[in-house]
Subunit: 278 residues, 2 copies
């Protein structure tokens, strides 16, 4: 017997999936964690009852979080991922042979353990020798980092409420700027531009203030509210459209959504965004 | 008391909106017609229990159906719309002062009457003197047309089942080619490329066969299944990226979604589409 699980947005619209079984349910120090098997998109993760990632719908999100930055930053030797406990982001990062070292800092160690056990197809790169996993507060990690700067920093947090809220604040962005290499790039998931328009615009504006240049980019994610998801690319010096063609060619051989045409296209701003940001 | 209305896709996912009231419900010769008031997106139309258009979510769909063709065809004096009984498509067509004559052929006269009465904000151009409304079968209209050819033909049908099925067939496309001017453009709504991938690809392939060139293009529509909707641009001679800048400039002054950057970006093919079509 499959049951409907519905996620409600703004109290007046909902998105539901038929769930065959609940594979895991628990509560960590930070949030409620559930792994379910859906009929439509395979196994997936919910945090605090919100769909985060599903096996057959996760590639667009993770490819778009990662590859626009990793295909434009001049150097990508050192990469930091904040959040991303499902492992999808670091999997995409580690597809780049030019990455020599990737750190991931996820606040919820239990989340990583659950995802490693039940969603190994999403987090398929946990054992890569280039990866170091830190369990802890991403804000603290960034504040206290005194080692070499990072070439690319990716922020893969939940919505800006609960444990992830600080990952969207200007003080955090200032800290990121302090540990980013001179020609480094930051990319952050920046919410749905329709239903959460002001939240989205505010993230872009804050990043522009801190880094000088910030460009939102867009793609459709079936399981997220609204029709369109956004990420924001920020950098002091890097042209967001200047692709490293060798890296792109390698990635687009096996990617599901991302390719060089999509890279450029994703940065086109719908008219209602363009008008709000200029 | 608002009630949930859910639309179910492939039996295992659903999209629901809270409906404040049913404003109209009836059955025409062709289909069940309902006008409801939703909490999320205002008033809207359902045909055979499927959301077609909602006041606060209709502009992206209609702008993207219409403007890519009308901003690239060398002449846009004569335009034909097949389907489109809600009036949104002809409204966008008639925003172009270069359009001298627009015919619309909608099979369901009752649908037009209901939309004129209850959704005047969507169909706000019914009284434009350049518009001629034909109630009848679009396939027959095209087969029997012996007047001047059209510069742009827009196919705004429902899903390729029921009354709209013939609007997606190769024989119909052949007829369209016969009444299209030499440098004319056809655009057709071509379904969701994720959930109805094969249907989408087949429309593109058929149009390529008939017209020589056909380019799918994409945008997100909140109320349609999947995250992404598609249209397909077909022409014997017209470059889909060669914009008439004067026309674009006028449209983007007031459009919600469409602008020149979006025009080019919409034609970028996600990697899974690009691979399937090459």
């Amino acid at each position: 017997m499959s049951l409907w699980y519905d996620e409600i947005h703004r109290g007046n619209q909902r998105f539901g999936l038929k769930v065959r079984q609940t594979i895991y349910m628990g509560r960590s120090e930070f949030q409620k964690i559930a792994i379910v098997e859906t009929e439509a998109f395979g196994k997936g993760l919910l945090l605090d009852d919100v769909f985060m990632t599903l096996e057959q719908d996760e590639r667009t999100y993770h490819e778009m979080l990662v590859h626009p930055s990793l295909n434009t930053a001049p150097s990508i030797k050192r990469v930091l991922v904040i959040g991303g406990g499902d492992g999808g982001a670091v999997r995409e990062v580690l597809r780049h042979p030019d990455v020599e070292h990737c750190d991931i800092c996820e606040i919820d160690g239990q989340l990583i353990e659950v995802c490693r056990e039940y969603l190994p197809e999403i987090g398929s790169a946990w054992d890569d020798p280039r990866l170091t996993v830190y369990v802890g507060d991403g804000v603290k990690f960034v504040e206290e980092h005194t080692g070499e700067p990072y070439d690319v920093i990716l922020i893969d947090g939940c919505d800006p409420v609960g444990p992830a809220a600080a990952l969207f604040g200007e003080p955090f962005f200032e800290c990121l700027a302090g540990i980013l290499s001179r020609d480094g790039v930051v990319a952050i998931q920046s919410e749905d531009p329709h239903l959460y328009n002001e939240v989205h615009l505010e993230i872009v504006r804050r990043m522009r203030k801190v880094f000088g240049h910030a460009h939102p980019y867009y793609a459709g994610i079936m399981i997220y509210p609204g029709n369109t998801w956004s990420w924001t690319f920020a950098s002091r010096n890097v042209d967001h459209l200047a692709l490293n063609l060798e890296r792109v060619a390698r990635i687009e051989e096996t990617s599901e959504y991302y390719n060089r045409a999509i890279h450029a296209a994703a940065f086109a701003q719908p008219n209602f965004i363009h008008k709000a940001l200029t």
